[in-house]
């Protein structure tokens, strides 16, 4: 019988990496401090002891160089690299290798290339890490054709989705919210995979649909549970993968409830939240009984002070207000 125990989000990711490395010698882990240090959030802990320095490679601080190396290694067909971009905010120094190289090679080469690379990266505010270590930049990946984008909210999803991502032949951006690493949840000991492109209904409801990502899934659930006591039934959908997007589950829910709130921590414009709103208006307009509400961060850099950062992030209060507004 399968053993299920409570482990952290970080431990769940570690199990996925361990399993994939044990199974396939082509899987290598690369990045800053992923070796002896075990990754700054402990996700790659113990891997170097088990698989050695050749397959768990500490890199110089040279994101474009080592992500590009991962892209070339994947394109050569000789490796399946899992490369860590320490903070999503460091994307700027390596973006070319992701959006112009990894994302486009297959298409530019007429479908011949397979680029089985996973870029793991850390996102999100809430740790007083200030403007250059706190952003939620997933829209920059969603915007570019050719990348799959994964953004899990629970330890269970994290393990199953990372296994699927490593086994996928396309470039996958795997985003981990830094405030989730320590949360615990039930995770089977045995390996399992969660298909990319399948949303999860975290809570069923009939009055309003809330689509939320990563940390915001937890805040949305907190509000949903509170409102349930008042007899308000909130359905919380976690897309889990932003590309491919499970449009069907989201649209079916909107058709059922007629109301939509999208909660996403990223900047407001040209964002995942506006994208889902556009989807609802395009494909479920006749079902909508109220305007779509978006709960996002404001269009400012992320502030340092906990007092300001708390105000900056979408809070349970703002989520609750948005839900009440559409009812």
């Amino acid at each position: 019988m399968a053993v299920v125990r409570e482990i952290t989000f970080a431990e769940a990711l570690n199990e996925a990496l361990d399993y994939e490395m044990s199974k396939d010698p082509k899987v290598v882990v690369m990045g800053e401090d992923v070796g002896r240090y075990g990754g700054i959030f402990g996700v790659t802990k113990g891997l170097i002891e088990k698989y050695g320095e050749e397959r768990v490679r500490d890199t110089p601080i040279a994101e474009s160089g080592f992500i590009g190396t991962g892209v070339g290694a994947a394109a050569s067909g000789l490796l399946r690299p899992v490369v860590e971009l320490m903070f999503i905010d460091f994307l700027g120094v390596a973006y070319d290798q992701i959006y112009n190289q990894a994302a486009k090679m297959r298409y530019m080469f007429g479908g011949k290339a397979k680029i089985p690379i996973v870029i793991r990266t850390v996102s999100g505010a809430g740790a007083s890490a200030a403007a250059q270590h706190s952003q939620s930049l997933h829209a920059l990946f969603i915007h570019v054709p050719g990348l799959k984008v994964v953004y899990p909210s629970t330890p269970y999803d994290a393990k199953g989705l990372l296994i699927s991502s490593i086994e996928d032949d396309d470039p996958v951006i795997f985003i981990e919210h830094k405030m989730l690493y320590g949360i615990k949840g039930p995770v089977p000991e045995d390996p399992y995979s969660i298909p990319l492109g399948e949303a999860d209904v975290k809570k069923e409801g009939k009055d309003v649909t809330v689509v939320a990502t990563a940390l915001m899934v937890h805040r949305a659930l907190e509000v949903a549970n509170k409102l349930e006591e008042e007899g308000i039934s909130v359905e919380v959908i976690d897309p889990r993968t932003l590309v491919p997007l499970d449009e069907e589950t989201i649209l079916n829910s909107i058709k059922k409830t007629g109301r939509l709130v999208v909660v996403d921590e990223a900047y407001p414009r040209c964002s995942f939240a506006t994208d889902i709103a556009a989807l609802a208006v395009n494909k479920a307009f006749d079902n909508l009984k109220a305007p779509v509400k978006l709960v996002t961060a404001p269009a400012t850099p992320v502030p340092f002070s906990p007092a300001l950062e708390k105000e900056w992030m979408p809070s349970t209060e703002k989520i609750e207000k948005a839900i009440r507004d559409v009812l």
Binding site: P60, G65, G68, G72, A75, G110, V243
Partner: protein, 332 residues
């Protein structure tokens, strides 16, 4: 040079002539409006690709640049399919989705030309990492220009290759101009090869118009790489006889300068002179090769011209390799 087998000499000549003939015909076809987009021709630089590729096997990898036709041809890429690609036809090597700046033939280890200056350099390092971890004795060669050697990717990739002792050779084709900016205004050093010292690897500068000289330095560098001794940086000093792109008015250099190079440093003329003077090859052998190459290029053009256009629905294909339940290729 005496130790270069005759078979290899014939291959070198054929390769250089093939690149030249290909590029001259492409210039004409582009001028006639038959080839869309931009083309950046390799005329004048044939000895570099040829001298390096003379040591490579099919299983070895290369990464190339926006000026990539020469690398593609020398690596043994499919010329019919690449010509069709330049025309944007369905039979193109990239099904008409890449064009001149993205010519690639993964079947012969050509990991792709690149429209982003310096973008492909880390890819060669990645292929070399794959070679090393799989215990193979292959090599990867990154081609790039003098302009690219100022880019972040050059420095980061070469540093990684050096610390990890990877089987990769960095070949800088210093054609003296970064589009319009002369080499002397891009870099304060006399030779790009000097940069190797900063990464603790050998750096060597060579006359890129002399295919025998390129052959010699490439031989040593590739052997070092195959033997697990790590990377080398080669600077091949060369010159592009054409503009940066077809249609470039070339206001940044004099006609006299271009004519001097054409007259005195044409790699094909220099090769012919040497092999004939030394009696290594005969006029007849060279003529035969030139005739054969002309026919081959003409056949590739005929194939490209007669090939169909891609179907409109193909625009949505080839983005991803693994299908999923969710929506991957979005259309409102």
């Amino acid at each position: 040079m005496a130790e270069i087998p005759k078979e290899k000499l014939l291959w070198m000549y054929e390769t250089m002539v093939k690149i030249r003939e290909h590029e001259e015909r492409v210039a004409e076809l582009f001028a006639q409006g038959k080839i869309p987009g931009f083309v950046h021709l390799y005329i004048g630089e044939e000895a570099v690709a040829t001298g390096v590729m003379a040591h490579l096997r099919k299983e070895d990898f290369i990464t190339s640049t926006h000026r990539g036709h020469g690398h593609f041809i020398a690596k043994g890429g499919n010329i019919k399919a690449s010509m069709a690609e330049l025309f944007g036809k369905a039979t193109g090597i990239c099904k008409g989705k890449g064009g001149s700046m993205h010519i690639a033939d993964l079947d012969v280890g050509e990991l792709g030309a690149n429209g982003i200056v310096g973008g492909g350099i880390p890819h060669a390092v990645g292929a070399a990492l794959g070679i090393k971890l799989n215990g193979l004795d292959n090599v990867a060669v990154a081609f790039f220009g003098d302009g690219a050697s100022n880019q972040q990717n050059f420095h980061e990739a070469i540093n990684l290759a050096a610390i990890w002792k990877l089987p990769v050779v960095f070949v800088c084709e210093n054609n003296l101009y970064q589009i319009s900016l002369p080499y002397s205004k891009q870099q304060a050093i006399k030779s790009v090869a000097e940069r190797a010292a900063a990464y603790g690897i050998p750096g060597v500068s060579v006359d890129g118009q002399d295919v025998f000289a390129v052959y010699e330095v490439a031989k040593e560098a590739i052997e070092r790489a195959r033997n697990g001794e790590g990377p080398t940086l080669i600077e091949a000093k060369t010159y592009r006889f054409r503009g940066h792109f077809e249609g470039d008015p070339q206001i940044y250099r004099s006609k006299e300068e271009v004519e001097w190079w054409k007259k005195n440093k044409d790699p094909i003329v220099l090769f012919e002179k040497t092999v004939l003077e030394k009696g290594l090859l005969t006029e007849e052998e060279l003529d035969t090769i030139r005739e054969r190459v002309k026919r081959e290029i003409e056949e590739s053009i005929k194939f490209a011209e007669e090939s169909p256009w891609p179907k409109p629905e193909e625009v949505l294909e080839d983005v991803f390799s693994t299908p999923t339940k969710g929506v991957l290729v979005w259309q409102w």
